[in-house]
């Protein structure tokens, strides 16, 4: 992939808020029989941004994507592309292209005929030369020059993936929709393709809308993530926002991993809430808006925010090391607290040199900075 000057790389991000939306969902619902697949979705997609729909299967993310593509018509609400309501516009009339989950490449066509398929549908017709030129450039972008006359089923998964991408971007769509495009690839290839996708998006400046159930993929690729659950959008924000300021336990759980402790709010002082667990422990975390004293809440503490030591610390919790999992750059500890149960602690290798490493069965004390733990609504 061509090198992109660093100063140009993030323009899409920075301007995403000020640019007019290229597409939007306005109160969009979709009902299949008795199932509400999408429930009053509201969302604006800015020109040039990389947006992901993230959620478990059945959360409505694919339905949202298919409504943008035109394969499903909304039961109510409006789908807007470039300011125009396109609810009843057939897929073949939309300036939108999709990369399908299993690629859906045409088995009877070779690589360049697959990529040129969309160009051959254009009216007025493009000349053979124009089509060949565009196909050639698309192949260059996905680094498949020389594969023009290959049969698609002779290619590896990663190569097929790139043909599918080229087949979509060659049409210069206003929106590129990607339905779990990397799900069929092995882990290493997936990592590579993630980087390529991101580079590609910055290079060609097309708006990308990705659907995935893989939080890591969404976090590493997107400018903005839309977390979905049961047909609803539960939170939209940048990857960092979602990770640092989840609005609910669901988001905190789905985006990254976290320890959750249930309790009720006892007091709130200077933005720090103290909650009482059922076993009578007092735990502290940053209060989020809308939670008052007496409310049933959930404290979320990310594993990497927990400090662990051999010596007792004020406000620390005494635990026993239950399990130690070596992860290369990190070590994950599962420590047992008599009242809280298993707590997940992640320590970077750098800190954990020499005798700092803890052994299974050892007595330790854990604590965290209350400002780095979040008191959330429990659902």
């Amino acid at each position: 992939m061509a090198h992109i000057p660093v100063d140009l790389q993030y323009t899409a991000n920075k301007q995403s808020d000020s640019r007019p939306p290229i597409a939007a969902l306005r109160n969009v619902s979709k009902v299949f029989g008795s199932v509400i697949a999408a429930d009053a979705l509201n969302l604006s997609i800015a020109q040039g941004e990389f947006l992901s729909f993230l959620g478990p299967s059945g959360c409505g993310k694919t339905t949202a994507l298919r409504m943008l593509a035109g394969f499903e018509a909304p039961t109510s609400g409006d789908v807007l592309i470039d300011g125009q309501a396109v609810n009843d516009l057939e897929p073949y009339r939309r300036p939108v292209n999709m990369v399908f989950q299993s690629y859906a490449l045409f088995p009877h066509l070779n690589v360049s005929d697959n990529i040129g398929y969309g160009l051959r549908q254009r009216r007025p017709r493009l000349s053979r030369g124009e089509i060949a030129g565009k196909v050639g450039r698309a192949l260059e972008i996905v680094r498949l020059t020389g594969f023009e006359s290959r049969r698609v089923w002779e290619m590896s998964g990663g190569q097929q993936q790139r043909v599918a991408l080229a087949r979509a971007i060659v049409n210069e769509p206003k929106l590129l929709l990607l339905d779990e495009p990397l799900a069929a690839l092995d882990r290493k290839l997936r990592k590579e393709m993630q980087i390529e996708l991101q580079d590609l998006q910055r290079q060609i400046g097309i708006t990308f809308v990705l659907v995935t159930h893989d939080q890591e993929e969404a976090l590493s690729l997107s400018d903005r993530i839309c977390v979905m659950r049961g047909g609803r959008i539960v939170q939209t924000g940048s990857p960092q926002d979602l990770y640092d300021q989840p609005k609910s336990r669901y988001v905190a759980d789905f985006v990254g991993t976290s320890n959750f402790f249930d309790g009720t709010i006892d007091a709130v002082v200077d933005g720090i809430a103290t909650l009482a667990t059922r076993s009578g422990l007092r735990l502290q975390g940053a209060a989020t808006a809308g939670l008052s004293v007496g409310a049933a809440v959930c404290l979320s503490v990310r594993p990497e925010q927990i400090r662990m030591s051999r010596d007792a610390v004020p406000g620390g919790l005494a635990c026993t090391v239950h399990n130690r999992i070596f992860l290369g750059e990190h070590t994950e500890y599962l420590v047992q607290h008599p009242a809280l149960g298993t707590v997940n602690v992640l320590t970077p290798r750098l800190i954990e040199s020499g005798d700092m490493s803890f052994q299974t069965g050892e007595q330790v004390h854990i604590n965290w900075n209350p400002g780095r733990a979040l008191v959330l609504s429990p659902d």
Partner: protein, 283 residues
Amino acid sequence: MTRSERNWLLVAPAAAWFVVMLVLPLSVIFVFSFGERGPAGGYVPAFTLEQYANLPARFTAFKNTMILAPVGTIAAMLIAYPLAYQLAVRTDPKWKTILLVLVIVPFWTSILIRSYAWIFILGGRGLPALLEMVGIEGVRLIYTPFAVLIGIIYGYLPLMVFPIYVSLDRLDKRLLEASADLGAKPLRTFLTVTLPLSIPGVATGCMLVFILLMGEFLIPALLGGGKVFFVGNALVDLFLQSRNWAFGSAVAFTLIVIMLVTVTVYMRVIARLQSGRDDVSIM
């Protein structure tokens, strides 16, 4: 026992069957075709090309077969395709099985009885009588090539529907979505995706029906009324009526050669149409 001995042993029953059921009868026909008819019928050994020289006497039977078999095949294909398409692509999955069974239902009764039904439908008191009621008079259907064609299409339609249905049913529906997504209107999608990908089914169906039609004799005998006869009818006549086995063998052998040549050419053409495609094969 070595591995290769064991392989031979496994192949032996099939090979024996092949020799007894195919090679032997064919050899007999081949040898008989150079013989002569005995005084009381049957076969007398000889070596003469007389029987082959006599083939033009059965020219009409060959002509009828060579016209009606391909026309019937193509007509059955043109009718079967939309039906198979409707069943495979458009039909709600919960109705598919029932509708497919309905396609096979005619096979539950003998083709003989079903052809008799057509004799009545096409005969004087059937369709022509109905047409007379609306003022169209003097239409004669039964015992014409048209009647035979109708019978052929009717009898062989299910055999054509199934292979086409299978190829269309197997077609990945996401390919159709991908085509629409890339800007192709429904007709374009059909012509550039659905049709090329269903060619294997169409080719199989056509081959199946064509080969069977080349040997057909019942439908022309019943609906052609002795006026429209196939090579099959000529064979029935030569072997069972006039007992001219030598000439019958020559006719039969000629038919086999014509069939082999046609099918070989046909498979070459299909192979070229599918050039380089390994994902699908004809049979």
